[in-house]
């Protein structure tokens, strides 16, 4: 197989988009193409376009988004496909781009993830996300992702001693990181005391799905992110040295969460991470920076353990010790994470990769992890039933 790298990255400001879906995707794509030194139009050299979106059809009443994007960007006759894999759509699209190049079918692939979610109310967005749950065993009973996360958190608290304060520490950390990320949705650092200890906290930071509060849950965001993948043997064509995709692992778990033997285990995360480490020839201790799917603060803790960054049941202790903040032993969610940067579903997996590329290139500004060489991203679909882990490495 050919080695594959990332030659360009682009990212819109997450939050509320002022432009329609395809235009928003195009903005991220153009930034990535520009970063890779690629001009659209005749002789552009892009062989394949993948667009990750979970909700284009349901929320925006638009299908065949990849075809529309190719036309908007004047990238014909590039091959084009839209990829839907729930909130893991972004990383899945990157994986497909990797496969296309590694197999020799193409040399350069543009992968764009994006979602225009703020066209509906928060309640409607929550309902839309819940459509990925089992239709008969879960959705029909009114279960939502926040509800699952609330129950999961309660079990995790009982089993491992995680507290609401630990969750608030994750939130504050990620909001602090987001202050250094100009494309983050929320540019505000909550006060730990105010959101968890103050007597106004129950109203200022109310429960959404007890024990999860507002500041434990990611916002509903619009946004797009893009990467240009290339064959590493063509690296000289690009202005910046490509960051290599060293490993990709993906795994699935039961659709119905109640069918899992141990409900606090995220087996698909564990397997996906193990497969990515094996492919990259790396171990968890080699990872310098990680972007983990913190749609809920508890997930950052649980995923950090399943991915082997900390022993089981000790992720929250690492948070308490400050090991997961920039400057700590293994900084997590330096972009602000889904929690503060935002979570436009289809964009998230690509956005995580963009952040790792910026870190490995040394372009992350105030949130830079010094000397970062290997980065891990975990993109979590469903309630952990389809997970993609990606490892990037800086080529020396």
């Amino acid at each position: 197989m050919r080695k594959v790298g990332i030659a360009g990255v682009g990212h819109t400001k997450f939050g509320r988009s002022e432009v329609p879906l395809v235009d928003m995707l195009a903005l991220a794509a153009l930034e990535a193409l520009d970063d890779a030194g690629i001009r659209t139009g005749k002789g552009h050299g892009v062989d394949q376009v993948f667009v990750a979106s979970m909700g284009a059809g349901l929320l925006n009443r638009q299908s065949s988004v990849a075809s529309a994007l190719v036309d908007t960007l004047n990238l014909q006759p590039a091959m084009a496909e839209t990829v839907e894999n729930g909130p893991a759509s972004g990383a899945s699209a990157v994986k497909l781009g990797y496969m296309g190049i590694a197999s020799g079918m193409c040399d350069v692939a543009l992968v764009v993830g994006g979602e225009l979610m703020r066209v509906v109310t928060g309640w409607e967005a929550t309902d839309f996300v819940a459509t990925m749950l089992h239709p008969d065993a879960e959705y029909a009973y009114g279960l939502t992702l926040p509800a699952f996360a609330g129950m999961f958190t309660r079990l995790y608290m009982d089993k491992y001693g995680v507290t609401e304060k630990d969750l608030a520490m994750v939130a504050v950390k990620n909001h602090e990181h987001a202050m250094h990320n100009p494309v983050a949705h929320i540019q505000l650092v909550p006060s730990f005391h105010a959101i968890i200890e103050d007597e106004d906290a129950p109203v200022i930071n109310p429960y959404v799905a007890e024990p999860l509060r507002v500041y434990d849950v990611c916002p509903v965001s619009d946004g797009a992110a893009a990467v240009v993948l290339c064959a590493m043997d063509l690296a000289d064509r690009f202005p910046k040295k490509p960051v290599r995709i060293a490993g990709i692992g993906q795994a699935t778990d039961t659709h119905v969460v109640a069918e899992r033997e141990v409900p606090t285990d995220l087996l698909a995360v564990r397997l996906a991470a193990q497969r990515a480490y094996a492919m990259a020839g790396l171990k968890p201790e080699d990872i310098d920076v990680a972007e983990l799917h913190d749609a809920f603060t508890i997930l950052e803790i649980a995923i950090s353990e399943e991915a082997g960054l900390f022993p089981r049941g000790e992720g929250h202790l690492a948070v308490r010790r400050g090991e997961t903040r920039v400057g700590g032993r293994i900084p997590i969610n330096t972009s602000g994470g889904l929690k503060a940067k935002g979570h436009p579903l289809g964009a998230t997996g690509v956005s995580q990769i963009v952040e790792l590329v910026r870190q490995l290139r040394g372009e992350a500004g105030g949130r830079q992890v010094e000397g970062a060489r290997h980065g891990l991203a975990v993109n979590f679909g469903g309630f952990g039933n389809n997970v993609v882990a990606t490892i990037l490495s800086k080529e020396e």
Partner: protein, 224 residues
């Protein structure tokens, strides 16, 4: 002020309304927002705070700000009966304004809610303070409410589960009237309304300075 006869006939009769006791709320940022009642003498300052928003189309700030501007003038110059204005300040800086009026002993009329500083649920807290005034201090049974913006509709109509009463007239027109009843207030108050009293005198003193905001997130690059 000497009021001549014609002016006297133009002014609505005033009801003696109990004042809104000031309170302060710790926001998510850790900042303390003081909510206190503004007087007619404060209105020129408040007009200056609202004026820049009159041209901001996004999120219907223009309509809400223009209407609030007119209502503030009407309050200052005695052209609305029994209006009141509450102001939210952080370190003396105006961050939000709400207003409304007492229709009679039983019914209140909510006018507008403007959050200048955003992202801290300041509008939601000021709206709750307004409802608190109607229900807990004016002792009313119902507040008539409409919304101009989708944000307002979600925050008030949906989150407070307001009763839709299209047959009831609201002075602002707009969407069909919705009503906060006493029962709905009691249901939602614990999760919507917070704050502490009394406000420490030095904090209240600063709040009353009503410092104009130096920046508006709605207006990038704004300089006063």
């Amino acid at each position: 002020m000497i009021v001549d006869k014609l002016e006297q006939s133009l002014r609505p009769p005033e009801t003696n309304m109990p004042p809104y006791p000031p309170k302060y709320i710790t926001l998510a940022s850790g900042e303390k927002m003081v909510v206190h009642q503004a007087s007619r003498e404060d209105v020129p300052r408040l007009l200056e705070a609202v004026r820049p928003l009159v041209t901001v189309e996004k999120d219907f700030y223009d309509i809400v700000a223009a209407r609030l501007y007119a209502e503030l003038l009407a309050y200052q110059r005695y052209r609305v009966k029994d209006e009141y204005v509450l102001v939210g300040t952080i370190d003396g800086v105006i961050v939000g304004i709400v207003n409304g009026r007492m229709v009679d002993d039983r019914v209140g009329m909510s006018y507008h809610t403007v959050a200048i500083k955003r992202g801290l649920r300041i509008g939601a807290q000021l709206f709750a303070a307004k409802m608190e005034y109607h229900m807990d201090y004016l002792g009313q049974q119902e507040v008539l409410i409409v919304a101009e913006s989708p944000i307002g509709y979600r925050r008030w109509m949906i989150e407070y589960e307001l009763e839709s009463r299209p047959s009831t007239w609201h002075e602002l027109g707009g969407v069909p009237t919705h009503v906060l009843t006493k029962a709905l207030w009691e249901k939602h108050k614990p999760m919507k309304c917070t704050g502490r009293r009394p406000v420490p005198p030095e904090m209240l003193e600063v709040a009353k300075k009503l410092i104009l905001p130096s920046e508006y997130p709605q207006i990038p690059g704004f300089k006063r």
